[in-house]
Symmetry: C2
Subunit: 105 residues, 2 copies
DNA sequence: GTATTCTACAACCAAATGGTTGTAGATCAG
DNA sequence: CTGATCTACAACCATTTGGTTGTAGAATAC
């Protein structure tokens, strides 16, 4: 996973509408227009949000007839969580090191 | 935690320089100029990155003499991880529900 | 066939982002 | 006191972002 991939991942999650889309398509299936109906913005705007999520691998799009079905992509989410786990692991190591130093002294 | 807070959190993590700053200040202590020395950009640019991290509660800044010491803020990281855990939990529930349906049929 | 629906994509716009330089205020060293 | 260092902040610039409208192509419905 490149730095640019991580950029895209977090950037995609930094918008409330996009996070809502992720939640919804994780639970159920939605067409792009089905999603667009949920928000007070144009179809094209929602289309762009979905495109951002696809680029970030948080969501997939699959053609079904004239519709485009959007589904959650578990891998993307898992990668994001694992990344933050790593950050936390670094923190925990630091906390342990400090505890060790205090124990020594 | 408001939606705007979550926006700030993920937006702050969507830049490679800022993620690197988070990693470094989680392990050790750095002044703003100490951080600035690490990157091929101006002091002012790094100053702005730190400000973004402070606003996102991923980092704290504390004055010490003429320096400003930057430290990691565990709470911010933990909140981010917990958020992604929630998303994953939703996914897991869905997976279970699907498993149940398959078991019924 | 025609009309409707769903999508794609271009062009445009205002605001935010990520960078720069420059100026000025504190603090420390000699 | 003087000079060097660290920080803050304003002004500016190019690019990206998040939204809009409009046009056009596929697939479905009748």
């Amino acid at each position: 996973m490149s730095e640019a991939d991580v950029d895209r991942l977090f950037q995609a999650l930094s918008d409330a509408t996009r996070r809502d889309i992720v939640r919804r398509v994780t639970v159920g299936e939605y067409s792009v227009s089905g999603l667009a109906a949920l928000y007070a913005m144009s179809f094209a705007a929602v289309q762009k949000h979905v495109a951002v999520l696809v680029r970030a691998s948080l969501v997939t799009k699959e053609k079904r007839g004239r519709e485009q079905i959007v589904r959650g992509n578990h891998e993307g989410l898992e990668k994001a969580r694992r990344l933050l786990d790593e950050y936390e692991a670094i923190w925990r190591q630091r906390a342990e090191r400090i505890a060790d130093i205090l124990a020594e002294g």
